[in-house]
């Protein structure tokens, strides 16, 4: 099996699975219990929190959540609730994940004004566009760190700075949120100037159903889930101790030697791209061509993603052809029989239906190798040529 759908989810580290098994079997106490068993369970949370907070900007806390979607919901809904008297404008982009876009739509229904910034053909948001949209009525800016479909590194570093400057000059209280679900574990996250950062454990070889929201210490947001007061009262519910412990370890493991791993991933990524380009005619990279290895290299592409359109083909058919060879990828369109299934990201990048239909996303993890890519190139070439020979009427 060659798994190249790591933006969808990743294989859990064996060490994480073992730790979670032990935590479930032995440390089953409730962290809120006063006895020793509860204390030991609480230690798991403490360790995991430290493991994750060490990888994030200083002066912040993490709140454990059920995943990236909850973290995004929490960040936007709680900030909007807190700041609704300060203004009602939310700035985001057209290429966000539905967890952000749909939450913004809800907020719009509730009377907030939402500004969706356009992106260029590479899926990149100009920092200037954010600057131009800021005003005293703005309360939230939410921009993803790395786009999940094309891998574009968004300008979250300069935007964070811009928002902070704006707040200082104008006495405003604008929150800067970044959805870092695709970035965490792929790029270093410790020097970004954000108030809120969302991430999801299963994207960095941790368990599904776990995520976190990083929050700057000076903020106190209204509770998101109300109850027994866990997670500092912000998100009640008895803690998922095995999941949290697993996420902590996965974060530590994924980010250990991160620069080495991401440059290796970059080599694999480029090797695949060059192989496809030399073997197959009429292909287009969706997103920036050049790879970037930190958030400072915004406008470049994260080494975890390669999105390519094979002109005159249908991604869905290529996907099913490749799966027969044990190669797992993803497409730009959920259902090629109608346009409503087309990716909103690729649409925002001004791609037409034909181009979107032929798009395939390869997404990598530290486990992928150059040797695997030789096989992928060969099988993709066969699949594309077979399709093109047969043609398609549509």
């Amino acid at each position: 099996m060659i798994y190249l759908d790591n933006s969808a989810t990743t294989r859990q580290y064996d060490e994480v699975t073992e730790l979670m098994y032990r935590a479930a079997k032995e440390n089953f106490g409730n962290p809120s219990s006063l006895h020793a068993l509860g204390f030991e369970a609480g230690n798991l949370l403490y360790d995991a929190r430290r493991q994750i907070e060490d990888l994030l900007p200083p002066a912040g806390n993490v709140i454990f959540t059920s995943g990236g979607t909850e973290s995004d919901n929490m960040a936007l809904l709680s900030s909007a609730r807190k700041l609704r008297r300060r203004g009602n404008k939310i700035i985001t982009t057209r290429v966000e994940h539905p967890a952000v876009l749909e939450t913004c739509r809800r907020l719009k229904e509730d009377g907030f004004e939402v500004v969706y910034l356009d992106v260029d053909v590479d899926g990149y948001v100009e920092e200037q566009a954010v600057k131009a949209a800021l005003d005293k009525n703005t309360i939230i800016v939410s921009i993803m760190a790395v786009n999940n479909e094309v891998g574009t590194i968004e300008p979250v570093i300069p935007v964070g700075r811009t928002v902070r400057e704006y707040n200082r000059k104008n006495g405003t209280d604008i929150m800067f949120h970044t959805d870092a679900v695709q970035a965490f574990g792929k790029l270093p996250m410790d020097d970004i100037d954000a108030d809120l950062i969302s991430a999801s454990a299963h994207k960095f070889h941790g368990p599904k159903g776990m995520g976190f929201l990083y929050m700057k210490k000076r903020h106190s947001l209204p509770a998101y889930i109300i109850g027994g007061g866990q997670e500092g009262g912000f998100r009640s519910s008895t803690e998922n101790t095995p999941g949290i412990a697993g996420m902590g370890l996965a974060a530590e493991m994924a980010c250990a030697d991160l620069m080495m791993k991401s440059s290796r991933m970059g080599i694999v990524n480029n090797y695949l791209l060059n192989g496809l380009k030399s073997e197959i005619k009429d292909i287009v990279i969706n997103g920036p061509e050049e790879l970037g290895y930190t958030l400072h290299e915004h406008g470049k592409r994260c080494p975890g993603v390669l999105n390519v359109t094979f002109e005159g083909t249908r991604g869905e058919v290529l996907l099913h052809t490749l799966e027969q060879d044990g190669i797992y990828v993803s497409t730009g369109s959920a259902c090629s029989s109608n346009k409503t299934g087309d990716s909103h990201v690729l649409q925002a990048m001004s791609m037409n239906h034909k181009e979107i239909e032929g798009a395939i996303r390869f997404s990598f993890s530290e486990f992928n190798t150059v040797e695997e890519m030789d096989h992928v190139i060969e099988r993709t070439k066969i699949a594309v040529e077979r399709f093109r020979r047969l043609g398609s009427f549509r």
Partner: protein, 392 residues
């Protein structure tokens, strides 16, 4: 063990002549089979009605929904039994009504008397009058309304006892499954074919299915959807065998060698040929399709003539004269609609020509087809079949 009584009425089976015992026997088997999951459930015919007794701890709705799904059943009523004594009947009727008042918020009622056993001394209208009086006395909240009652209580005095019941839950009618041969349905993932299969099964025909896909042009999810559709149908007709065939090799040949605008029609001709061979092998007497006159290009009168001409077997098209909206209603009624509308591509839409022929000429189609080795293609397809058994 205490058991509840249900009276099951058959529709058309009752009209049969010499064959009636056969149909009754099969219907009894089908009802028993539908209730076989309840230990101690029993069913028997007594003078034209089926008496079903099921342990009292099984919820009434569950038993009724199992019974009404059996083809050949016209209606079902939960009933109570009483000795053939007018006072006993009155007592039981009052108890019965008391329960109904509590559950269904009933304020008015009327009683209908029936006397199948003419040796019973009291005549029908008088049975109604006397039982009505006793119910009225026992249930103070009720009043009689002969025109628009909330509840009609029927008292049926028969030779072996008296039976009290209220509303009937309608079944689908039709004839018991298996009394009318076996057919092979060409099952896509759409709205029509499950309805077509249902309608034929309702007339007593046993059903096998054949499904064509174009993997990797279609996905396994599309096939799982079809299996789910068939599973829903299996709720009415028991385990269904489905033959699954990859049509892609044939589609590829057609696309390479034949005019684009004839693609769909040529593909359909192959489907019919393959289906016929599978039907013969599995002792199916006819093919069934969900085609509906004029719905799409391949279902115009001319197109149907051209597709039919490749098989000798009769092709049943139970939906042929229905409107789409009515087919959709039927699909909702039998529970397949929501599955059918899941958006997966099926093999028919994979190589859809931009402008398909709507008035094909048989000669032209045959000429296009002569570029293909029809026999070998069909043979290979039939040999590559996979069989899935789908249980309810």
């Amino acid at each position: 063990m205490e058991k509840n009584l249900y009276i099951v009425r058959c529709g058309e089976v009752a009209l049969k002549g010499m064959n009636k015992p056969y149909f009754e026997r099969v219907l009894l088997e089908r009802v028993k089979n539908a209730l076989s999951c309840y230990e101690g459930a029993e069913a028997k015919w007594i003078e034209g009605l089926m008496f079903v007794r099921v342990p009292a701890d099984i919820p009434e709705d569950e038993v009724i929904s199992k019974c009404v799904r059996v083809f050949g059943v016209a209606s079902v009523s939960p009933a109570v039994e009483a000795p053939k004594d007018i006072n006993e009947i009155g007592k039981k009727a009052a108890e019965f009504m008391q329960k109904v008042i509590d559950t269904d918020d009933i304020k008015t009622f009327k009683v209908k008397g029936k006397r199948a056993d003419k040796s019973f001394a009291i005549e029908s209208p008088e049975i109604a009058r006397q039982v009505g009086g006793m119910v009225l006395k026992a249930c103070k909240v009720l009043s009689v309304d002969v025109h628009r009652p909330d509840c009609v209580l029927t008292v049926d005095v028969r030779r072996e006892g008296a039976y009290i019941f209220r509303d009937k839950v309608r079944g689908f009618g039709g004839l018991p499954l298996g009394t009318n041969g076996k057919g092979l349905i060409l099952m896509s993932g759409g709205i029509d074919s499950p309805v077509a299969a249902f309608m034929m099964a309702k007339r007593g025909m046993s059903i096998e299915a054949v499904h064509f896909h174009s993997y990797p042009y279609t996905s396994q999810r599309a096939q799982r959807k079809v299996e789910e559709l068939v599973r829903t149908l299996a709720g009415y007709m028991g385990t269904v065998r489905m033959h699954v065939i990859n049509l892609l090799p044939i589609q590829e040949e057609i696309v390479k060698n034949c005019p684009e605008d004839e693609t769909t029609l040529l593909v359909r001709r192959f489907m019919m040929r393959i289906a016929e061979q599978i039907a013969v092998k599995n002792r199916c007497m006819m093919l069934i399709t969900g085609e509906d006159l004029g719905q799409v290009a391949s279902q115009t009168a001319e197109a149907l003539v051209v597709t039919d001409s490749v098989v000798d077997m009769p092709v049943m098209r139970p939906l042929i004269a229905m409107d789409k909206v009515d087919i959709m209603d039927k699909a909702r009624e039998i529970g397949t609609y929501d599955i059918s509308i899941q958006p997966y591509e099926d093999c028919c839409t994979v190589f859809l020509p931009k402008h398909p022929v709507t008035k094909p000429k048989k000669e032209r189609i045959e000429k296009s087809e002569s570029a293909l080795d029809v026999e070998t293609l069909v043979k290979n397809a039939v040999e590559s079949e996979e069989i899935v058994e789908i249980r309810p």
